[in-house]
């Protein structure tokens, strides 16, 4: 296993940490989506690095492309949901979304 792989994996872990921290602490819905995006960046970095290490980068590229397409689909839906939530609550705060709270 090369040092290059370990270095990239270390940075991918840092990106995952940033995303998880954002998801755990932020209240703004758009910020939460930004956190998910940052986590996705860490995962794509880890995938491509593993592909390069296994001399199999073509397969990981196709996986990453699939991942990006699904990410865009998810993001478009999530942003449409956020706009609808904003129209109903006039706020982007997750603390206002208490209708289903028991």
């Amino acid at each position: 296993m090369s040092n290059h792989w370990l270095l990239n994996m270390g940075f991918a872990a840092a990106l995952l940490f940033i995303g998880i921290f954002c998801l755990l602490t932020m209240k703004n819905l758009i910020k939460l989506l930004i956190g998910i995006e940052i986590m996705a960046k860490g995962i794509t970095l880890a995938l491509i690095t593993s592909g390069v290490e296994r001399h199999n980068v073509m397969v990981t590229q196709s996986l990453v492309i699939t991942f990006i397409v699904i990410e865009v689909s998810l993001l478009a839906t999530a942003l449409a949901l956020i706009i609808n939530i904003y129209r109903h609550t006039k706020s982007l705060s997750i603390s206002k979304l208490t209708n289903l709270k028991g």
Binding site: M1, N3, H4, L6, L7, M9, G10, F11, A13, A14, F17, I18, F21, T25, M26, N28, I30, K31, L33, I34, G35, E37, I38, K41, T44, L45, I48, S50, G51, V52, E53, R54, H55, N56, V57, M58, V59, T60, Q61, S62, L63, V64, I65, T66, I68, V69, I70, E71, V72, S73, L74, L75, A76, A80, I83, N84, Y86, K90, S91, L92
Partner: protein
């Protein structure tokens, strides 16, 4: 060179969550995507790099900015003041742990075996995508349709409301 790109990627990602202005956060996210795309090009993954630049840095940033503009007037949410300080503190602790864990792994991990020989020997990307990952393409088409229909459903105008207006 790669280490500078990785540092830039992590720094701009951290800036994206610490900035109070959402527009600046979205732009920082786009810049981080560009750093990642350049890294992909340098690692020999040009197709992933092109997708990263065009879709993640381009389309997703535009989607974020559109949403921010549509919700800006009253959507301001005040985050806790201590969040950024906690982030810096925990991030430094995490980087130190990460560094020591990765340092411990140097020389201790076995080499990864080469993946499926058929795929490893085949250097033609289109052949890999169309012949070996066909199911992925079907999944992509389904995901795109699901996204389009869900957005259409969410933005569907309510006829009763329109008639009342």
């Amino acid at each position: 060179m790669n280490i500078f790109l990785l540092c830039g990627l992590v720094c701009f990602s951290a800036l994206a969550i610490t900035m109070h202005n959402l527009l600046k956060s979205a732009i920082c996210l786009g810049v981080a995507s560009i750093f990642l795309a350049v890294l992909f090009f340098r690692m020999g993954a040009p197709y992933a790099g092109v997708f990263e630049v065009s879709i993640v840095a381009g389309l997703i940033t535009v989607l974020f900015i559109t949403t921010i503009v549509l919700t800006k007037r009253e959507g301001g949410v005040k985050e806790r003041k201590l969040t950024n300080i906690f982030f810096l503190l925990f991030f430094i602790i995490f980087i130190m742990i990460d560094f020591f864990v990765m340092k411990g792994f140097i020389g201790n991990l076995p080499n990864m075996p080469v993946g499926s020989p058929n795929l490893a020997e085949n250097n033609n990307f289109s052949k890999v995508l169309w012949q070996y990952r066909t199911l992925d393409l079907v999944g992509q088409i389904c995901a795109i349709f699901a996204g389009v229909f869900s957005v259409l459903a969410l933005f569907r105008a309510d006829k009763k409301e329109n008639n009342n207006e």
